[in-house]
Symmetry: C3
Subunit: 266 residues, 3 copies
């Protein structure tokens, strides 16, 4: 079975998502499409990159159309990246795909999607997921070789992967909020192992410095270890340090949004 993963900032249940599914079904009727997420924050390329770099390693190697594309219709290129693990990522050249590719063994070969025979019937300046990315992905899934979809690009010329703020000093970790989920869990741009580098392995209670105040958070293993209204620091399911509450929203209590700077001290 041919398989395409699909992620975007189009919004869950959006007709833009449905239109893309319909276009793929028209080109490659036997291909299965699995939605990874369509709740990515509108226009937020770096935020999407953080989320998808975590998710794709849990998926089997396949074709993936990844679209957060505020520059659609401008000079930014439409590209496909063949990754070392076997995946082919399709989308805009704005740092989203290169960030994800880094987690899939890196880029083996890059192509610009300039072979218009594999594009859709319409060409708009605002909806390249429908007109370019999904048609190309569908043709690939139906057997068109990667080499045919456009001309070779030098991977070194692609928009570079995103990097998140992370400074580790003795007794202190400075990072940023890389994601906030539906439950209000606040993901930080620091893996649990940086606490070792900071000499904070044994620390059970951290001082949290935010732009508008401080708080005290207790290191715990799971939500239920927390008292009502208490904020805790857990290692989340993707290995990141994460500020959480038990059955409540830590992001609301701490008034944190994506990109906010956070300092953890012992």
């Amino acid at each position: 079975v041919s398989l395409i993963f699909f992620a975007s900032d189009f919004g869950p249940g959006s007709e833009y998502v449905g239109t893309c599914h319909a276009v793929i079904a028209g080109i490659a009727p036997a291909t299965r499409v699995i939605d990874l997420t369509h709740s990515l924050a509108p226009f937020d390329v770096a935020g999407a990159a953080a989320v998808l770099a975590d998710v794709l390693p849990f998926a089997p190697p396949a074709i993936a159309v990844l679209v957060v594309d505020p520059g659609v219709g401008s000079l930014r290129r439409a590209i496909a990246l063949r990754c070392n693990r076997g995946d082919v990522l399709v989308g805009p050249d704005n740092g989203l795909l290169t960030t994800v590719a880094r987690m899939l063994g890196g880029v083996v070969e890059a192509r610009e999607l300039n072979e218009t025979r594999y594009h859709g019937v319409a060409l708009s300046s605002t909806f390249h997921a429908r007109d370019i990315f999904c048609p190309v992905a569908a043709h690939l899934s139906a057997g068109v070789p990667f080499e045919r979809i456009g001309s070779v690009l030098d991977p070194a010329g692609l928009v570079a992967p995103f990097r998140w703020r992370l400074e580790v000093a003795a007794g202190c970790v400075r990072c940023e909020v890389s994601n906030i989920d539906r439950f209000g869990n606040v993901r930080l741009s620091a893996k649990a192992e940086v606490l070792t580098a900071a000499g904070l392995d044994e620390c059970r209670t951290f001082r949290l410095a935010l732009s508008d105040g401080t708080a005290s958070v207790r290191r715990v293993r799971t939500y239920e270890d927390l008292a009502d209204g208490e904020v805790g620091l857990v290692e989340d399911s993707f290995g990141w340090l994460c500020l959480v509450e038990n059955r409540a929203s830590a992001s609301e209590r701490l008034r944190l949004t994506r990109g906010a700077h956070v300092e953890l001290a012992g």
Copy 2:
């Protein structure tokens, strides 16, 4: 592979959507169901018609269950329309299906869904998507001929397609807001070509008259052509004139909602 497209105002991720998928899987296990959208505004039949009339032409001909149905359980009929392009549209007779059918070559044959052997196990007065539309669509996808699902209807007796406000005069286009998407893009009920009819082909900056004020908008090709905070007029991916901002919401800035009257002048 048999294919059913499904669109509704049930809300993304709603259990009503899932129940319909489950009912189809019970009747026609080999049929694939593709969600076109479930984010249609609750109760808004005309708004749904505008969206789906744009989307279905991008889909391959198939069976489509289209449900925005505030009159469910009343005397409004349950119908299926065979369209010239080969599609079969299933849903309520409230103008939604006839509006979409107009974009698929028009209605070849209409049937009332009164053959109850193809309905579901329950019959409620509030959920005909589960009890009538999806079961009939599933039976059709499993091979039941169109002629069996109910008695013939005269297409002339169906609720007429929706029409949107559009007046074109020299130097002026009067229309309405037909849709607002997740990004705050404001779709107007005027295709880009009406600007030719209005003699506004060469116009680069338009005066926009709204119910509560005026604004100036610049004609651009893509979002990135706009300065921060500037509202532009683009031809969107379905050919409509659309008021947009770059990485921000034009609908919020202009305080526009669906159905609002808009006048564009040179």
Copy 3:
């Protein structure tokens, strides 16, 4: 075709949902996954149980992963229940699965998911849907026998099914709000038949006592029977009494939320 139903409180379009789909696709590529809903209210196990106990009887017997799991990572067990109807329910032991199983003929056999060879590649303390429930479901769908996934549990030792408030007296029904849908329809924890038991069969207008006031509601068959702004009492599509308006939100007008106590009197 092997089939897994999937429901959660992860939010529609969430990357958590997509990650679970991806994990299943990696283990059981031929298995089809149908989302029942991902809009269940965060952390609300009882609310989810009410919704899913209604939905599953409309689905064909299959494997179902049902996840609202605020106790993830704590001592609560991961379980699978084989039901009399043939379904296998997979998820946390917190009352959600036992409530649903009651509607599927009851539990035939229960297993604890402690055979780690059928778990995923990661084991987090916060995302057992990805690490345990979906991998086990995928292996089951790919042919692993139910007896292999872990040790037998005494069904009597499982967390008991939820029960909703329902008191029926002559001329009076006391119940609670068990669900509120996208349209603002307010589902009560009383089936239409309890009106017979209360001697209220012939009653056309009910007095509604809420925690902060009273209202008068008219018994009707369908939304369109109501005047603008009037609240009605219908039998909804799952047999429950439901407070509704025509093309408007009864929950907003009555300011009702899930769990609120409601008294209906003749």
